[in-house]
Symmetry: C2
């Protein structure tokens, strides 16, 4: 049993291990900072010099081509941020007012908000401890009690609503169990939308995340593996959906030399060329960032190898993770231990943080339909994210 004295000792040992990984402590050490060591300035300057900073320009096209090339997706559509990409993904899969959309309780609020924007309702799903993402097996059991496929759609038998889509999120860059999840979606006639906001550079069985569902969303926020300031992208392998994705994210305007016709309610979700220019320079450096991030993860593994009671999250089976955010996992859920670590590390200028507040614990999503969330609740009391900027490995 862990005694208060034991706790204290574990706490100090953990803090020392983190400090060993971050020896040249410039305070504060951010959770994740971008690196701009490539052509960022050259490309951005070219935008300014040519005046192409806004809704048109070659860098948007080039950025989309680079994302296709890197992820292997057939199509990429750049957007103004990851939330916009996810909202568009839900619209593209036919999510409508009154529908339900399955999302993990353990996610950033953008996943739930994107569902809300469509007028649908988040329906909260538990986590798999092995991946930190959606537990497909537990979800399947839950759906057998709760839902039925009728006329080709999945219905919640309690609420009567259509369960239109499942949005697994690849937590901290670790892919969910995509074999199990794609099988589940096929069996239950549910659209698969991958929330790949955190998983650029992460692979499942050698294939890049974002290629397993109907559509997927990426994010290039300032804290992600690469950044465009703010930005995101929609990935798909369906040419018709790709065309529609570009259309609805650019005000649904139909082509004409000067006339303004729009054939549906569209969105102003396009990425400015200025931000895409930054993105092009960032993708060029992405392989190097990923190598550095693996090296940093290895340093955390090494530092914690002999520390009992905790571990550093490792990529799941059949996966190659980008290790976007390294996660310290307490063996046993313990909010007091977690919070004391957060206090100490942040006090030292090491910007550690807990996982996002679980969705059902936010008042705004407290009334959403949900399954038992015991594993997500346990993970919440076990996780401390640690600084993960790629340059920390250098």
């Amino acid at each position: 049993m862990t005694t208060p004295a034991g706790r204290s000792s574990t706490h100090d040992v953990i803090v020392d291990a983190v400090k060993r990984v971050l020896p040249d402590l410039r305070s504060p050490v951010a959770l994740h900072e971008p690196s701009f060591g490539g052509n960022e300035w050259q490309y951005v300057k070219e935008c300014i010099d040519t005046k192409w900073v806004s809704s048109a320009g070659k860098y948007v096209d080039r950025f989309e081509e680079m994302l296709k090339g890197f992820t292997g997706a057939g199509y990429a559509v750049a957007t103004v941020n990851g939330t916009a990409a996810l909202h568009a993904c839900l619209l593209l899969t036919g999510v409508e007012h009154g529908d339900e959309v399955l999302i993990p309780a353990l996610t950033f609020i953008a996943t739930a908000n994107a569902v809300s924007y469509t007028g649908a309702r988040p329906h909260l799903v538990d986590s798999d401890t092995a991946t930190l993402g959606v537990d497909a097996s537990k979800l399947d059991h839950y759906l057998r009690e709760t839902a039925a496929v009728r006329d080709g759609v999945c219905r919640n038998l309690r609420t009567g609503a259509v369960i239109r889509a499942l949005v697994p999120m690849h937590t901290f860059g670790h892919p969910v169990d995509l074999d199990a999840i794609t099988a589940l979606c096929a069996r239950w006639q549910i659209q698969l939308v991958e929330d790949a906001a955190e998983s650029l550079g992460s692979y499942y069985r050698g294939r890049h995340t974002g290629n397993f569902g109907t559509v997927a969303a990426l994010s290039f926020n300032g804290n992600k593996v690469i950044t465009t300031g703010g930005g995101g992208a929609i990935l798909t392998n369906d040419p018709a959906l790709a065309k529609l994705a570009k259309h609805i994210t650019t005000t649904a305007r139909t082509a004409h030399r000067w006339s303004f016709m729009h054939d549906q309610v569209g969105y102003n979700y396009r990425l400015p060329n200025l931000n895409a220019a930054l993105g092009c320079a960032q993708v060029e450096q992405l392989p190097g960032f990923l190598e550095s991030k693996r090296a940093l993860a290895q340093r955390y593994f090494d530092a914690f190898e002999d520390v009992s009671g905790v571990s550093i999250m490792r990529e799941p089976a059949h996966c190659r993770s980008n290790y976007w955010l390294n996660a310290l996992l307490l063996d046993r859920p313990d909010v007091a231990v977690r919070d004391r670590l957060l206090e100490t590390l942040n006090g030292l200028g090491i910007m550690a943080r807990p996982v996002w507040t679980l969705m059902h614990r936010l008042p705004v999503y407290a009334d959403c339909p949900r399954m038992d969330l015991a594993q997500a609740e346990a993970l919440d009391a076990r996780i401390v994210n640690l600084p993960s900027s790629p340059f920390l490995a250098d």
Copy 2:
């Protein structure tokens, strides 16, 4: 009467007059291009050098301060684009699912789309030929037949819906008749939201547009007076609304050192620091841009002074306009004459264009409630916008 021969002659005279204003014809001449002659490079480079490109950084704060200073508004909240600003403005004024929002039929589709995002319905209003914006007198007559104030809210007696807000748009930078419109809103208990996307640098009775209603939206798209690549802002003089505007545009996260709590459905609508840096450099040059734009408008006035059958739109009474887009007005509505001018000018590389398709003529908004739109329809057949970049005056 205008004969076919007469038309031909008028057409040629108009084209010649436009060519006189744009003598050093570099083809194509855009409708509106940005100018980057100030500190754009320096500020953007500083963002990259310091790694502050994204959701935090000093340029967002500085840009908001500069916008406050320039417009005289008490508060400014920068957003990712003008559509996002307008959507947030509607949320801030309490627009809800099922409400109606009065908007001009003659506007860019973003005005109508922002209403749709809230679940409310656009209710289309006719234009005043003197301002090209909402005709307050005609709207007042229409409301007397259609609506009634009950329990402090205005209700559409035909649909039963609450008419929550009026969103006049300052067309091409020309302010609407704000005395009449503020009086109408007070009389009918309707919230006033100014769509000031086009009117940065435009004043009504000496006061900057965007200061007359509850809230207002600005746009810094690439075709506007100043640009941030993509960007917008919310203006208000109400401190509580300003605080709420910042809150809902930044995912409604409540302050904590590391914990992620959010107290409502929020939006990822913040402007990246990279784009704000561009904006700071642009605001510094704004007074010069406005002078150049007035000089260009004067050149159009001079060129068309002796051309019969047409005029160039002049700032309305009590207004100082930014002359964002110069508008050629045919004395008489004539779609054939308008379209022939558009064909010829665009054929010459002069990117003239008609006004946006009127909202009730777009299939998606064809079924919206609306008043008689005779003046908007006449204006549609009279307007040709002409190139208006500030540097064209130099």
